[in-house]
């Protein structure tokens, strides 16, 4: 649900990084935070456990610049991927405009990827969204690991809807901005079509 403020001339949109535990969602936000100029970002807030697993969410506000006299701002969130934080995940999807589904490329994590994808669809539907229609970009992360599953196989399992997808090595920053840029484009295209 984008928020347009005519008084301050701002467009605000919300993007959520979704995916199984340890797939690299928080790492994506950390890289974006590290590579963004100080005047274009707010604080990176991480509500995390002592072992650095996301407990509730990570939050990073970005200010991307102006389009048509409106300042374009994106709020990036990550969900906690661990299965038992299901209730929190549902809350974070409220008001989302676009999703980055981050998948873990390791073959042994394929069940976890699928489970997370199903969980996301259910939670989106519970919030009143059509999971087929919401802007979505898929990121295949951890491509650096020797056990990475073939991309054809990952697309067959995780991307039957044919969303745009990117390979990434989030720890090294590979593919992180490509993914972000893609979802931002999709969300702004929706804004364009709605106003």
């Amino acid at each position: 649900m984008s928020f347009i403020n005519f008084s301050s001339r701002e467009i605000n949109c919300k993007i959520v990084y979704y995916g199984p535990g340890l797939c690299g969602k928080t790492t994506n936000l950390q890289h974006i935070y590290g590579k963004t100029a100080a005047d274009r970002k707010g604080k990176l807030i991480s509500l995390a456990t002592e072992t650095e697993r996301t407990l509730f969410f990570d939050f990073l506000p970005l200010s991307l610049g102006a389009i048509k006299g409106f300042n374009v701002r994106f709020h990036l969130y990550t969900v906690p991927g661990q299965v038992f934080y299901a209730a929190s995940r549902k809350l974070i999807l409220k008001g989302v405009d676009g999703i980055v589904f981050t998948a873990d490329s390791q073959i042994e994590r394929m069940d976890a990827n699928l489970e997370s994808m199903d969980d996301m669809r259910l939670n989106l539907a519970a919030q009143g969204y059509d999971p087929e229609k919401i802007p979505m970009t898929i990121q295949y992360n951890k491509r650096d690991l020797p056990g990475a599953a073939p991309l054809v196989e990952m697309n067959r399992l995780l991307n039957p809807g044919g969303h745009t997808w990117y390979q990434a090595v989030a720890v090294e920053g590979v593919g992180v901005f490509e993914t972000l840029k893609d979802i931002v484009k999709k969300v702004l295209a929706e804004v364009r079509n709605s106003y």
């Binding site: 347009i4 301050s8 100029a37 389009i67 409220k94």
Partner: protein
């Protein structure tokens, strides 16, 4: 978009801001804000420079969402008032018009929870009516300006946004 977007125009913004400013003065609140339940800031008043309002809004929205998740578990529809007490400063929050949150930050030595709650309750009606009017304008579709606002956003415009990152 799958869900209604929210659009805020000058008129309603002015009303909300004026109410918040009056609330700060009347209840001797340090900082007051209205946000939506998704964590977007609608308006702020009082001392705002000392506080990172964007972070505050996202955490307040998360806090309210978590509390109302608990409400559902114990069979309540919703909690409507929230209070956090610190050594010196406190945060009072209440729901407004179903989809907004009023936040008041105050110093215990300057005012009291009772006073803040009383004045906040009084301000609720005027705030809610301005916000409801904004919501219905949003839902009546498109924009009151009359022409498609962003119709000519191009792919190059969007590319440019990433020029500096």
């Amino acid at each position: 978009m799958p869900l209604a977007d929210f659009v805020l125009y000058e008129e309603e913004y002015g009303k909300v801001e004026a109410e918040l400013t009056a609330l700060c003065r009347d209840a001797r609140i340090t900082t007051a804000a209205v946000i939506d339940k998704n964590g977007q800031i609608i308006a702020t008043a009082g001392e705002t420079r000392r506080i990172d309002a964007t972070s505050l809004a996202s955490l307040a929205a998360g806090d309210v969402a978590a509390a109302n998740g608990m409400a559902a578990l114990i069979g309540e529809t919703e909690f409507s008032v929230f209070f956090h007490e610190g050594q010196r400063d406190c945060i009072y929050m209440s729901l407004l018009a179903g989809r907004f949150i009023l936040i008041a930050i105050f110093d215990k030595k300057v005012t009291s929870l009772g006073m803040v709650r009383l004045k906040a309750n009084k301000a609720t009606e005027a705030l809610a009516s301005a916000l409801t009017s904004a919501s219905s304008k949003s839902e009546s579709g498109k924009n009151a300006v009359g022409e498609p606002l962003f119709a000519d956003i191009t792919s190059e415009d969007i590319d440019r946004l990433f020029g500096q990152t």
